[in-house]
């Protein structure tokens, strides 16, 4: 399942700082008793680099 989004549309990012970007997905377990979380790798990004 592939997804993409233009984050400049969503977030007001400034030139200068290094941002750490992660994507997270939460789904309920089959029995519904817990929430499972999957996190992506962290991307370090500096605007204008």
């Amino acid at each position: 399942m592939k997804k993409q989004i233009d984050i400049m549309e969503l977030y007001d990012l400034r030139r200068g700082p290094v941002y750490a970007v992660t994507v997270e997905r939460r789904i309920g377990t089959v029995d519904g008793e817990a929430i499972e979380v999957v996190r992506s790798n962290t991307i370090k990004y500096k605007l204008g680099s």
Binding site: K3, V21, V23, R25, E33, E36, N41
Partner: protein
């Protein structure tokens, strides 16, 4: 004057008694108990799926595209909701100090709109039956 004070204090006592009764009733209400249980669900690390994310500076001047791929890394099939990107996924952007990035006005609108979706799906599912509600689910 003393009679007025007596009335006030007895009124206050009655109010406190009724408030404690209401809170006891709220704890016995199954709907409230369910919502309390949902909030305290344990969070586990998911081993069935993996996400690989990359950043791609778009060809257009002011775009920065975040791309990711959700992959099933288990042998079993995984069925999950596939509705709205901002509803299904959480994108976390923090600077060096750990401060979260601010949303643009458009971003705020998009996020608010995505939060309205669960209610719409719930109503749609109840009205049209399970088959149409199931189209918002994907299998990996």
């Amino acid at each position: 004057m003393k009679r007025m004070q007596l009335y006030w204090s007895s009124g206050l006592c009655l109010f406190l008694l009724s408030a404690s009764g209401l809170s006891n009733a709220a704890h016995k209400d199954p709907a409230i108990q369910t919502s309390m249980r949902l909030e305290t669900k344990p969070v586990l690390k998911l081993k069935r799926l993996g996400i690989m994310a990359v950043m791609d500076s778009g060809t257009a001047g002011n775009s920065l595209v975040l791309k990711w791929r959700l992959k099933n890394v288990s042998k079993e099939g995984v069925r999950l909701r596939d509705t709205n990107l901002l509803l299904d996924y959480v994108i976390e952007i923090v600077d060096e100090e750990g401060k979260p990035a601010r949303l643009t006005p458009k971003g705020e609108k998009m996020l608010t709109a995505s939060r309205m979706l669960p209610q719409i799906f719930r109503v749609a599912g109840a009205r049209r039956g399970d088959e149409k509600a199931n189209r918002h689910y994907g299998t990996l």
